[in-house]
């Protein structure tokens, strides 16, 4: 395959990934690594480097839209960022010594969990009334806009959230994914933030976490300009288009389609990883 053909095909694939990722809320970064390795035969390390950089693009590109709605809790984000960034630097160090088939199996497992969670309906839980000791001391309480005006919420279990974020950072750096699913679980389930606040704050954090490990990968030579070129531009164009047509799209069917793609790729990653064929 010539470089020109490779660039065109990967651009189209990344465009689709970015579009579906934005429309379903799962994030396009999830299937960039399997797409590059399974369909285009790209080495896993180059694929992870390219995926990480594309995550930064979508996270930063989408930030302005979220900020305007006033959901992001910057204090929660920056505090938890301590956990994810330390995790990301450790994950980037671990990536150098982890066998690629172990990475493939791990990615397969994370893809399956993401697909499972996205296929289940989510219920908006009651917001916490009393903040815990740490949340009070760190003034994490805030308000968010609802149909009935601004609603106040409190934050609980800061240590639990912080430790899960550390894990999210390691996974993000090891596998080149945003780990949005782990971040949302930490904030939504453990710290009891309202769902919309969790997802937008997670988006804020994903770019910062990916930036921490992307720098390390750049120095280690994992980031190849010829591969990154179509991936970044494709995912970015897809994500921006997705955000624009979100209100008009039939998300239910797209979600089923995307989840199916994720499951197929997860099974293939597991298969290759177990055979040691990566």
């Amino acid at each position: 395959m010539t470089l020109l053909l490779f660039t065109i095909l990967v651009f189209i694939g990344s465009l689709a990934a970015g579009l579906l990722g934005a429309l379903t809320g799962l994030g396009g970064g999830l299937i960039i690594v399997p797409m590059l390795t399974l369909l285009f035969g790209v080495d896993l390390r180059y694929a992870i480097g390219a995926s990480l950089v594309s995550i930064i693009a979508t996270s930063s590109g989408a930030a302005a839209a979220y900020v305007r709605e006033g959901y992001t809790n910057v204090r929660v984000g920056i505090l938890l960022e301590v956990g994810t960034v330390i995790g990301a630097l450790i994950g980037a160090a671990l990536a150098g010594i982890t066998p690629t088939n172990v990475l493939a199996i791990l990615l397969g497992v994370v893809l399956l969990i993401s697909a499972y969670r996205s296929s289940r309906p989510r219920a908006e839980h009651a917001v916490a009334r009393e903040p815990d000791k740490w949340a009070a001391r760190l003034r994490l309480d805030s308000t968010y806009p609802t149909a009935n005006g601004k609603q106040a919420y409190a934050v609980t279990n800061v240590p639990g959230g912080l430790s899960l974020m550390f894990l999210a950072g390691i996974l993000s750096a090891l596998l080149g994914i945003g780990s949005g699913i782990v971040k949302v679980i930490a904030m939504d389930q453990m710290m009891r933030l309202p769902f919309k606040v969790s997802t937008t704050t997670s988006n804020f954090m994903i770019g910062v976490t990916a930036a921490a490990s992307a720098g390390v990968y750049l120095h280690r030579g994992y980031i190849d300009p010829s591969i990154v070129l179509p991936v970044v531009l494709g995912v970015l164009a897809g994500a921006l288009t997705g955000a624009r047509i979100l209100s008009r799209a039939n998300v239910k069917w797209l979600r089923i389609l995307f989840t199916t793609v994720v499951v197929i790729m997860a099974v293939q990653m597991l298969y290759k990883g177990i055979l040691g064929n990566v």
């Binding site: 660039t7 035969g41 950089v53 693009a57 302005a64 960034v85 930036a211 720098g215 980031i223 970044v232």
Partner: protein, 127 residues
Amino acid sequence: MTTRRISDHAVEQFVGRLLQIGVAISALVILVGGVMLLAHHGGEVPSFGTFAGEPEGLSTLAGILRGVGAGDARAIIQFGLVLLIATPILRVAFTWVAFFLQRDRVYVGVTTVVLALLLYGLLYGHA
């Protein structure tokens, strides 16, 4: 309390806009480098299946800047990527300024830690 929230929000809006501009500029730089790359090397057959690691000229800040000066297409793409990696770091830097102006010592401290770790990753990168 109220003023703190309002100024948080104003800063975030400004920074959100800044991030979009940062992404747009880096995408433009990557596009320019990409067009140059494909114009000169589009017919070559690359082997991305074997991991060789990037040379020094494409993996260190000094090397990338040297390549940009020499008009190397790959180095221009890498420069666009460095700009892209810098945008969330810039966002954290602005958050630091906002907390500093609010005289919020605890969060100035927290943000300093995050910023230091990020700069370490970008500038040294030997975690």
